[in-house]
């Protein structure tokens, strides 16, 4: 069942993806076999920091897993992670500082979860794939596009599964919205614009502190690519170690732009600056505009990531169409659906059948208000909501999909190639902002 290695050329990539619009559809390949559904999967975790803990908490709800090893260069993370595993399964897993040593000693693993800093993703993933293991790697695939390419090639060369942690791809709310509301019932009509944003207050964007007594030996830090403990704790703010906010926060949402629109952008214009955190290497505020040619027509997508103001809070992706708008978010509270006033399409049949829930309309602004000029404003749209929610931690469905794929029961929802095709435009946001010029995205920019 393992896919055969393939060296797909840029020409064939274009034929398969850009032209045919398959880039971002459901992967048809990549499910493994050979593991009995009743078998317990032996799992190792590389990187037990903040994101590693989030993934572990989500995995702790999934039956049939045995956490065999934990690897982290920081004692604090490693021992804390081992303690969490012991609390879950009753005994300590094996602990390692070095991933290579772990792979040399742990010979019967089925899967590895990679939740290390971005600049280690590719090395850890390729190393594990070449050791014959299936890998779930956090997004962004890497801090460089070439390292991300290496991950795709390694997955296809080894035939092992490589799921990238764009967890919205497995979220029932996102899948339902795409398949039922946008594609089947086309409630938005022609999508003419997309917006997305993730804004954080200054207080949530401060450097992460640490206790001196817990600091890692400088020689160990140097061995693993960190110049000091501050850089280890705050790797997201360094250009050589991460893609910065547009990659940390934007990657999730720009992935949704491409997935929902079913294609990738042809151009990106970006601007960024160090407006508040003036000493950081990465921009603290970034804005990007992506130009798309979709089967429905032209469309622009605007993405904004601010680490200097919460701007009122919330994070979501907004798909704006001629008939309606869907604001979708991982958080149900930020998800809203609006039917355009004057739309020819009635949504009542969808409400009656349960595809949508009608929401009590908020009180419209009084037309007689002194600040109202009727001719300037559209009539208030009707508000709707998704018919249900996700009752699990947001990462759990994506991890369930990964383990089900290992058992041969499902295909991956976001394998390395599809993740790369969606992530590739993001790698060109920072260069565009740095140069102050648009980047026309060609196959050289977007293909493996």
């Amino acid at each position: 069942m393992n896919p055969s290695p393939s060296n797909i050329s840029r020409r064939s990539f274009l034929t398969r993806s850009l032209g045919a619009g398959l880039v971002l559809g459901a992967p048809s390949i990549l499910k493994a076999a050979g593991t009995s559904p009743s078998d317990t999967l032996k799992v190792a975790i590389i990187g037990f920091g903040k994101q590693g803990r989030v993934l572990f908490e989500a995995m702790s709800n999934i039956p049939g897993l045995h956490f065999q090893a934990v690897c982290d260069i920081w004692d604090y993370n490693r021992k804390g992670g081992m303690g969490k595993v012991r609390a879950l399964q009753g005994h300590l897993p094996n602990g390692y500082v070095d991933a290579e040593e772990m792979l040399n000693k742990e010979k019967d693993l089925d899967a590895v979860i990679v939740a290390t800093p971005d600049f280690w993703h590719s090395r850890h993933t390729v190393m594990c794939l070449e050791a014959g293991l299936n890998v779930y790697c956090e997004k962004m695939m890497s801090n460089t596009i070439d390292d991300a390419r290496a991950m795709v090639l390694a997955a296809e060369r080894t035939g092992k599964l490589c799921q990238i942690g764009h967890q919205r791809r497995s979220n029932p709310r996102y899948r339902y919205t795409l398949e039922q509301l946008l594609k089947r019932h086309q409630i938005c009509g022609q999508i003419v614009n997309v917006n997305g944003q993730w804004n954080r207050a200054v207080s949530s964007s401060q450097d992460i502190a640490y206790k001196e007594s817990l600091a890692i030996d400088p020689a160990v830090l140097k061995k693993y690519g960190f110049k000091d403990m501050h850089q280890f704790m705050n790797w997201r703010t360094y250009r050589d170690l991460s893609g910065g906010p547009i990659s940390d926060l934007g990657a999730h949402q720009i992935d949704i732009f491409n997935w929902y629109l079913g294609t990738v952008p042809k151009r990106v214009y970006a601007s960024g600056g160090n407006d508040f955190f003036t000493q950081r290497e990465h921009f603290d505020n970034v804005m990007a505009i992506f130009d798309y040619d979709t089967p429905q027509g032209g469309c622009r997508a605007f993405y904004q990531v601010l680490t200097t103001t919460s701007a009122g809070g919330g994070y979501y992706e907004s798909f704006m169409g001629t008939e309606g708008t869907i604001n979708i978010s991982e958080r149900a509270a930020y998800t809203n659906i609006y039917r355009e006033s004057g739309s020819k399409m009635s949504w009542e049949p969808l409400v009656e059948k349960g595809y949508l829930k009608k929401v009590a309309a908020s009180a419209p602004a009084a037309s007689g208000d002194s600040d109202a000029i009727a001719s300037y404003e559209s009539a208030a749209p009707e508000a709707f909501a998704l018919p249900g929610e996700l009752n699990k931690p947001p990462h759990q469905p994506h991890l369930e999909n990964f383990f089900a794929a290992i058992r041969g029961e499902e295909t991956l929802n976001c394998d390395a190639r599809h993740a790369f095709e969606s992530e590739a435009p993001i790698y060109w946001v920072n260069p565009s902002a740095l140069d102050g010029a648009p980047v026309n995205l060609t196959p050289d920019h977007l293909s493996v």
Partner: protein, 172 residues
């Protein structure tokens, strides 16, 4: 000129006593029962176009349930505040929390059935007084006034104790 006969006067006081007993018994019994109340949440698949959806979209429903496992004598929010009060020892708070619910149930039952009505009323008054002490510490004056209304009712019932009828055990 017509005067009220002693018999008519007794009937009025008997009914007054009965009403006070019923109200105080109901107040105590149901408050005790509510201390065993909790919420059970359930998730069900959302039905779309007549069938359960296959995406995993769920809707949650919660219902009120009763059981020993849900018991909480002193509501959590109040418990935490009492725990921070230096005049309330931790061991006492734990014991009080354990006994309050059963005590209210027992007192409500004895009052309803008329078992040692005067003693039951007096102990009930002590319980409300103890609750008053806690609320004074937390400076919840409205709650203190509310409990005072209960104690006034108990005092009135005690003053009508000679007119207690429909009682299983009239002694005490």
């Amino acid at each position: 000129m017509e005067t009220e006969s002693p018999n008519n006067n007794d009937l009025g006081r008997t009914l007054a006593m009965l009403l006070a007993r019923l109200w105080l018994a109901l107040r105590s019994l149901q408050t005790g029962i509510e201390k065993f109340a909790g919420t059970r949440s359930s998730e069900t698949a959302v039905t779309i176009d007549g069938a359960a959806n296959t995406y995993g979209l769920t809707e949650s429903a919660s219902s009120k349930v009763y059981g020993i496992s849900h018991y909480s004598g002193v509501p959590k929010a109040l418990y935490d505040k009492f725990a921070a009060e230096p005049l309330i020892p931790g061991w006492f708070l734990g014991l009080y929390d354990l006994l309050l619910g059963p005590a209210l149930l027992l007192l409500g039952l004895t009052l309803l059935l008329g078992i040692a009505t005067r003693v039951s009323l007096f102990v009930m008054g002590l319980v409300y007084t103890s609750l008053t002490f806690g609320l004074i510490l937390l400076k919840q004056d409205a709650g203190v006034a509310w409990l005072a209304a209960h104690v006034i009712l108990i005092v009135m019932a005690l003053s009508l104790a000679n007119h207690n009828r429909f009682a299983i055990l009239k002694k005490w």
